[in-house]
Assembly symmetry: C2
Homo-oligomer: 330 residues x 2
DNA sequence: AGCCGGAGATAAACCGGTTTAGCTAGGGTC
DNA sequence: GACCCTAGCTAAACCGGTTTATCTCCGGCT
């Protein structure tokens, strides 16, 4: 009980393979009456074109790719990516080819392979580096791609991004309005473009600021917080680059007897159930919608639209119980 | 600058396409000296076989599939699946074709399409239903599959599962040993097989138990908890079917002035950062390792091994601050 | 010498589509 | 009536592999 192929349709409809192909793809070259008959036969036989065969003759591969560079174990706690993926899926009828690798070189290798093997029609690029070799790779391969989350434009690639600079500025302004002067930032990986952007924005709007690098893990968040609070001049507010580090920081503060928010205000970048439950003030953006937007951008590129830069809505600061007026003010 | 094809290799090595194919795949029919020369040429030209073409001639598709049936928005909070996926990836060199759909019928449709289109070599089946049509589908299609998380064996399919019955029994016994008599369970979706298994285990070991159905969302957990605590004979302990509902339940308890763990003990099924931070006693299993195990099982099936049922290690109860001796005891 | 067998290679078919070249019939033009 | 065009279709090439049938040596055995 094999699936019917185009040849079976052709035989059943009494026409040639080529005519069937033209009819099914809505292209000219067959009469309307023939087309109708072919469609009729095809649906009655439950015909499904083979994506494999189609991809072979240099047509669409019917899938898009996403490569994540992570130590696999660390991935499970990053709700961000799963939200993003879910959002992408919501706008795509095609499947997503996902692979997790542990190094940048494997990632590059994988793009080349996928492209050479005609496995994907295009890819999403996430975690953009400050000077990212993937941008050049994509244009040299001629591979459609959308940069997700990397502000600004990158070569000829389309990109979907949020204005990290404006967002960071708004957070700092908010803290300043509460009377905070000495503000710290526990940053993400320094190699990532958005880290640098946020660093710059932070430094340009803060009065008396300090930046500590982190890597998004609870351990890093805890260590950084401990260092800051035990320093000579502890900050009265800390802005963390993700939810996991912020929660860890809040716990360290509690263990050190530093009251939140009375003595220390805490802001997390990217909201999540973790922040909601910990009552942390957080910079919230709709990651799901962001993913959906990225998917639409990639689909547009695949359909031949010229690549555009789409700016996502500005993340919104959700004030919860972890921020208050600076000590000694008001 | 096209990628080299098998024809280019053949020409460069001075042999036929067929010989190249045999040589590259390590099959007999070519001399060792020829094989060496072909391999040499292939690597010097940077040759990569096209997975597409290879899949077309009824060989491997080089990918396995996973379909998740969810309202896409709800997915992002389910760390479980992302952990699982990460674990699967850690054991697979091939890519994972992932698609999120919103109905069971779409899911079925998708399996048929993937199989017909030669897109995947096999699939993971998750969220097994009590009487799941997918089991019959897989064997009628002859599609390799591994049931992930469905206890017991299902037709001729391999399966990887944890003993929900024993785990639930151990949780209840633990609570009983603390003096709890009236114990409630906030369950997951009633249509899922593991929900039924846990229900049965719960009812058979509990003395005075009540089960409320939920759907894994915070809202459901909160509503169920409110109902239980405001009832005529509130339980002294509640076991939740996932972390999100447990955390929501803990908050409801707090808002109702019910002290945890003094007046109410709480246990969550499946540990997570959420439980860790909320200091909830949780039934912890290594979801990442579980995914890895599932991947190995599928790979084994793909390699022709006869399907086996692999039982995962028993989840371990991690006691934190949300469980204590029952009120009026000790 | 004649026959057989197997190793080593090649040519060709095949997988299931797309695409192009070519053929045929019918209608319009001059 | 000769000529040209075009719509509508077919046959065949092609995509990049795998697989099968076939062909050619060459050595061993009787």
């Amino acid at each position: 009980m094999k699936r019917p192929t185009i040849k079976d349709i052709a035989a059943a409809a009494g026409v040639s393979k080529g005519a069937v192909s033209l009819a099914l793809n809505g292209r000219s070259g067959v009469s309307e009456v023939t087309r109708a008959r072919v469609l009729e036969v095809a649906s009655s036989l439950g015909y499904r074109p083979s994506a494999t065969a189609r991809a072979l003759s240099s047509a669409s591969a019917g899938a898009v790719g996403l490569v994540l560079v992570r130590p696999p174990r660390a991935l499970g706690d990053e709700a961000f990516f799963f939200q993003l993926i879910a959002g992408m899926q919501s706008e795509m009828s095609s499947a997503l080819l996902l692979q997790v690798v542990s190094s940048r070189s494997e990632e590059i290798e994988l793009y080349q392979r996928w492209w050479a093997e005609h496995r994907v029609d295009g890819v999403f690029l996430v975690d953009l580096l400050v000077s990212d070799p993937r941008v050049a790779l994509m244009s040299s391969l001629g591979m459609p791609a959308v940069v997700v989350g990397g502000a600004g434009h990158h070569g000829a690639l389309a990109s979907v991004w949020a204005d990290d600079h404006a967002a960071m500025t708004s957070v700092v302004e908010y803290l300043k309005s509460l009377g905070h002067r000495r503000i710290a930032r526990v940053a993400g990986l320094p190699s990532l473009l958005h880290t640098v952007r946020r660093d710059q924005a932070f430094l340009s709007s803060v009065v008396d600021g300090v930046i500590v690098a982190g890597d998004y893990t609870a351990e890093a968040g805890a260590a950084a917080t401990r260092m800051l609070l035990e320093g000579a001049v502890p900050p009265s507010a800390i802005v963390y680059d993700n939810d996991v580090m912020a929660v860890a920081g809040a716990e360290v503060a509690a263990s050190l007897g530093v009251a939140v928010p009375a003595e220390l205000s805490i802001v997390a970048w990217d909201d999540s159930v973790l922040c909601q439950h910990g009552r942390l003030t957080a910079l919230s953006r709709d990651t799901f919608a962001f993913g959906a937007r990225a998917a639409r951008a990639l689909l547009a590129v695949l359909e031949g639209a010229s690549p555009t830069d789409v700016e996502d809505v500005l993340p919104e600061l959700v004030v919860r119980g972890s921020t208050a007026v600076a000590p000694g003010v008001g």
